[in-house]
């Protein structure tokens, strides 16, 4: 039935429709543009928010692609103990996750935990031997010391860790209760760190079991001794039997002790150590009351810890402080308290509690656990280092006033968290690596905090320091991408997957882990909720939307190329990019 003409048919000297004689590439429409799109990876806010300095976005991307091994490799570059941090880190990454502005933050800790647990299932790697001749001593096997040892071992150094306690792990082993961090799991994670060729000497308190002079044989020393001198509660008759430091109590329980506390336990303090003491006391069969001199709002403990303590039956008296111990038959029988009110803000920005005269009252108590904070023990340090009452003086990388000695963890001026300790250990390892390589005659620039950290506030990444990033970056800039620069039109709401939890009844039966995390499948589903903020994850929307077909896939699958001869600079690719991984730049600049 066809009567019409093919394209090539010419009548009156023209084809039937306005059609070109060749393809369109002859028309270099790219010459029209005055702005051009570029791929420009930026920093996801979670990466900046992580005190450890983990490339969270990158491992989420690998998981989205189903590459679990690659995700683990990325995670283990920066964090030596994800099974630990996936459980005990207070996950500030989630507080800044852009997805919180869309529906709910990604449950990053649950994904990290699942990955960490998978890593523990892998067969142990054969021990590595150092590739460099320098040796480093690390004092303290807490998170700061282990992180420093881990990174130094990865950099090729031989590392010996000196630990005063009979078991390695520091606060992780002795401070944090079993129901939050199972110790067999900690031991396996430490064993993996050790397999890098690290020697850990336990029952080896430097200055007692090991002379300070023994450290002269090392080329560098890292101090990560933490804070474990419990502060005095500051009440009358504090030496009454039945009153003891909370941290010491936790250590005893963590080493297998089951002390008699009596029926009624009073815990003084509002931090995580106080919550740990109260919940541990509950598990030992005591009624437990927490006294805190401010209100619930000022409590430094994480919400999750307080909520779980309340759910388990811990009682709270806010705006109350102990004044005097009362005793009967030479043992504690009660605590006289005084009501407080909140006054002016103090140096910490919190309102200072002020006693209300005449408001005294007494609560019965068989044991009082003091958990108002811990301080460092500088006397035990065998070196003359500058410090104030609370912290060693260091530079941003932990180097003390003695260049041979770096420090990290709770002993330096930073928040007392496991994540911050791991981050400080990494920074110190970078500083030590830089110094030792320079002293060995290599040309090494001093580590540049601004260049090595994620964004403006994040921690240093070992990958940037070593320059061995396995992820292909597209014109990366070290700026965090805010939610406003994402294009949420391409996202779909998905509720966060909540952690599974042991019932309160089961929790109180013993020290079984309370938070059970996510199943592996749900953890992978949670990883797929990640927006991959600021980083191209090959979603291909740019390619789909380009009206000039000027975007093509790189043959090696690492990203896209823009054909600037034909890109007209319309900016659709940049506008459609869901994750702010593109930018428009002035043509010719």
């Amino acid at each position: 039935m066809s009567r019409g003409a093919p394209i090539t048919d010419r009548v009156h000297g023209v084809p039937p429709v306005a059609v070109s004689d060749s393809d369109t590439t002859v028309n270099r429409t790219g010459s029209w543009k005055y702005i051009r799109p570029v791929y420009r990876d930026r920093v996801a806010p979670c990466n900046e928010g992580c005190p450890v300095g983990i490339d969270i976005e990158a491992y989420m991307n690998e998981l989205r692609e189903g590459r679990v091994d690659a995700a683990l490799a990325l995670l283990l570059r920066e964090n030596p103990m994800p099974a630990v941090t996936g459980r005990v880190c207070y996950h500030p990454c989630e507080s800044v996750c852009n997805r919180r502005n869309y529906d709910e933050s990604v449950s990053i800790h649950a994904v990290e935990r699942a990955l960490g647990d998978m890593a523990l299932e892998a067969p142990p790697a054969p021990p590595e031997t150092p590739t460099r001749k320098e040796r480093v001593a690390v004092i303290g096997s807490g998170p700061a010391g282990l992180a420093c040892a881990f990174h130094l071992a990865r950099f090729g150094y031989g590392v010996t860790v000196f630990e005063a306690a009979p078991e390695p792990g520091g606060i992780l082993r002795l401070g944090i209760p079993e129901y939050r961090l199972p110790k067999d799991l900690l031991a396996r994670e430490i064993a993996r760190i050790q397999s890098l060729g690290i020697t850990i000497k336990t029952n080896a308190r430097v200055g007692a079991d090991v002379p300070w002079t023994a450290l002269d044989a090392f080329d560098a020393v890292f101090v990560g001794t933490g804070v474990h001198r419990s502060l005095s509660v500051g009440m009358e008759s504090e030496d009454t039997p039945g009153i003891r430091p909370g941290l010491g109590f936790l250590q005893e329980v963590n080493l297998g002790g089951r002390p008699e506390l009596g029926r009624r336990v009073v815990v003084v303090g509002g931090g995580n150590t106080a919550m740990d003491c109260a919940r541990t006391a509950l598990r030992l069969g005591s009624e437990t009351l927490v006294l805190y001199r401010r209100t619930r709002a000022e409590m430094p403990a994480t919400d999750e810890e307080v909520e779980e303590a309340q759910a388990e039956g811990v009682q709270f008296q806010f705006l109350a402080a102990p004044v005097r111990a009362k005793s009967k038959d030479g043992r504690l029988s009660g605590v006289e308290c005084i009501r407080m009110k909140l006054g002016e803000a103090d140096a910490s920005g919190r309102r200072r509690p002020v006693p209300i005269p005449g408001s005294e009252f007494t609560v019965p108590a068989d044991t009082l656990l003091g958990a108002i904070g811990e301080g460092p023990d500088f006397e035990a340090l065998g070196a003359d280092l500058d410090h104030d009452d609370w912290t060693l003086a260091t530079d941003a990388f932990g180097t003390t006033t003695d260049a041979r000695i770096t420090a990290g963890g709770d002993i330096i001026d930073q928040p007392h968290t496991v994540a911050h300790a791991l981050g400080a250990g990494k920074r110190a390892a970078v500083a030590i690596d830089a110094r030792l390589r320079r002293e060995a005659g290599e040309t090494v620039d001093a580590p540049d905090l601004a260049a090595l950290r994620y964004g403006r506030l994040g921690n240093v990444t070992a990958t940037r320091w070593r320059g061995d990033d396995p992820v292909v970056r597209n014109g990366a800039v070290n700026k965090v991408v805010p939610y406003e620069e994402l294009n949420p039109a391409h996202f779909t709401p998905v509720r966060v997957h909540p952690d599974r939890r042991l019932s309160v009844e089961r929790s109180l039966e013993g020290f079984d882990e309370v938070n059970l995390g996510l199943t592996r499948e749900l953890a992978m589903a949670e990883a797929r909720r990640c927006f991959n903020c600021g980083v191209c994850n090959r979603c291909e929307l740019c390619l789909i939307f380009c009206p000039d077909v000027a975007i093509s896939r790189r043959p090696d699958g690492t990203g896209f190329e823009i054909d600037y001869d034909h890109c007209k600079g319309c900016g659709l690719c940049n506008a459609e990019c869901p994750r702010g991984a593109m930018a428009m730049t002035r043509e010719g600049l």
Partner: protein
Amino acid sequence: MKKVIVGNHAVAKGAQLARVEVISAYPITPQTQIVEELSELCADGKLAAKFIKVESEHSAMAACIGASAVGARAFTATSAQGLALMHELLHWAAGGRHPVVMADVNRAMAPGWSIWTDQNDSLSQRDTGWIQLYCETNQEVLDTTIQAFKLAETVDLPVMVILDAFFLSHTSEPVDIPEQDLVDGFLPRREARLKLDVDDPRAFGALARPDVYMEMRLRQQEAMEEARRVMVEVDAEWKQLTGRGYGPIECYRTEDAKLLLVTSGTMTSTARFVVNELRDRDEKVGLVKVKMFRPFPTDDLRRVLAGVPRVAVLDRNISPGHGGIFAEEIRSALYDLPPAERPPLHGYVLGLGGRDVTPEVIRDVVVRSLESPAASEREDLWVGVNS
């Protein structure tokens, strides 16, 4: 098989039998049951077509053009303001020689808002290069929809199948629905000649300079001339298969007529009734129905109307500032007849915005045409309006 169906479903049935491959539509007023029915056929797997829901009629036509450009049989339907919104793309479809078929439910243009019939929406698209076929019955709607694809794909021009709002679109009539095999034999799969070919990449719709533009328009005009003949052939073939043919125009009891009424759309049926009535009284009044408006059936009309004592053209439309559009076009067609054969022609504007054109109204037209020969031949009379 005969079924009692509304005009909208007659269109949908026709498109289904034509095995359309791509349907694109904006599913809100002024859209009709046409695409509602087609979307259900697609969803139920009864029609193997891609249904592309878009955000405007402009996009609907763009999608049809795109589909047609890769060789698919593409269809859409619209009405009134929706058709107006398509205006730019109507030029693209025709100028790009894309054989898209579209049903237009003839509705009056707003303001004021109207969901009732007149022809101003489709006639406003007169110069876009689309073939326009106006239907009288639901049977004709179905038959014309199927014929339209064959016509469009033979001459590489888009076709608009036009039916009156409500009087056809929402009115049930018995319709003989042909068997699929019959339609398949009549209308094989589209063999596109002008189409995108990834092995021979070219730019379509590119710049045409003054040294080639006119020639392209000339080819388009020649395709329209071709369409006049092809329309007759396609219609004749369909008549052979089904017994039903319509032609570009239809003459009804025109022998020895002293007055010929010229109509289009559903008022034709009313006019048939009045003509029968008058013929029963030996009043020599006949009827000419215009089905094809573009290409305009100039020669057919000249042949039929030459020498007739009087002609009355009934326009359900108005070109403000000029007059009824069919009347003006027919006057123009008859202009160079020898003066003795050129009939006096009266134009009547009626039925706008869905106002009923009843037998009384048509009788009034007849009376005025026969009894008031002094009435102006240049100025159309508005019939059925309040004074």
